[in-house]
């Protein structure tokens, strides 16, 4: 049988598979967290949600936010995430950015729509302003009833993880079968 042709085609098949894999990753990879300069088109912040038999876990990426910038409240059916990320410059003052007092160049980048242009110190030139600053409020309807008093949230390295225990009636419950 055509062993020669099969052997010849093999590396090309591999190459084609490699391209298929690359193409799939480019076209189907999930987007980044959404903290871009443009206003988010989808619900914000983006969340990933998973469930086990007894709890729901909701995760969101909130880079640059401290615990005090986030407000979470829960009812039995709904989780509300609220918060705001300060504009880059107020972060600067928080982290002790020296005022750009040298030189007298004014900002060459037009201010975005976030309206913090008035606080711009002199001599600061922005080359990139991609990190959006915005307030957010997202109401997430949960796929199961939860126990609001047991909700816990952790913020680690800019990743918020909210764990919601399911209400007892929403947990699967084992039915034992008796024999006669």
């Amino acid at each position: 049988m055509p062993t020669f042709r099969a052997g010849f085609a093999h590396p090309l098949d591999e190459l084609r598979d490699e391209f298929d894999r690359l193409w799939t990753s480019l076209t189907t990879a999930p987007p980044l967290h959404g903290w871009g300069p443009e206003q988010p088109t989808a619900a914000f912040p983006a969340v990933n949600i998973a469930e086990t038999d007894d709890c729901l876990t909701i995760e969101a990426e909130l880079p640059g936010l401290d615990v005090g910038d986030i407000d979470i409240s829960a009812t039995g059916e709904e989780l509300l995430l609220k918060g705001s990320r300060p504009a880059s410059l107020s972060e600067s003052s928080r982290s002790g950015l020296p005022e750009g007092s040298e030189g007298s160049r004014s900002s060459s980048v037009p201010e975005g729509s976030d309206g913090n242009g008035s606080a711009e110190p002199r001599g600061v030139t922005w080359h990139r302003r991609e990190r959006g600053s915005r307030e957010f409020e997202r109401r997430i309807t949960l796929p199961a009833t939860i126990d609001p008093s047991g909700v816990e949230a952790r913020l680690v390295d800019g990743v918020l993880t909210v764990t919601c225990p399911k209400a007892a009636e929403a947990q699967p419950h084992r039915v034992s079968v008796h024999s006669a």
């Binding site: 989808a42 040298e102 390295d157 800019g158």
Partner: protein, 137 residues
């Protein structure tokens, strides 16, 4: 030297793209370009990058031949149970910037807090903009 004024981002990877050297333990093969703010304050250039999920020990900042490179490995994290909704992806971050000459490589400082990486690249004293006072006779 106002070279940083033309700091053009070298796109190190399309967004997102397959990472061919993702170290073990990181998210499955995705690499994103982090969003950044770059601000020239005269004495230094300040770069802020959103790299949520990265651990401080997984962040690598290097400066060579006028190019500042940022890499952040994000450990894979999976939520317990079955996934109901996936609105964003988790992957490593990689991006580099051409800053040009006139920076003090030895004094570059990076700080990481709450998923936000802040890098300060100071100019060499000799090339800092300087205001010269004019005296009247």
């Amino acid at each position: 030297m106002s070279s940083a004024a033309q700091s053009s981002a070298q796109s190190s990877a399309p967004q997102p793209s397959e990472s061919n050297q993702a170290p073990g333990g990181s998210a499955p093969g995705l690499t994103y370009q982090p969003h950044v703010d770059i601000c020239d304050c005269g004495a230094e250039v300040l770069i802020r990058a959103d790299v949520p999920g990265a651990r401080p020990e997984g962040i690598d900042v290097s400066y060579e031949d006028g190019v500042l490179s940022v890499k952040a490995v994000v450990p894979a994290r999976t939520l317990p149970g079955r996934s109901l909704r996936e609105e964003y992806g988790v992957g490593d971050y990689r991006r580099s910037f051409r800053l040009g000459e006139g920076f003090d490589a030895a004094q570059i400082a990076a700080e990481y807090r709450h998923g936000l990486l802040t890098i300060r690249v100071p100019r060499l004293a000799a090339v800092r903009p300087r205001k010269i006072a004019v005296h009247t006779a």
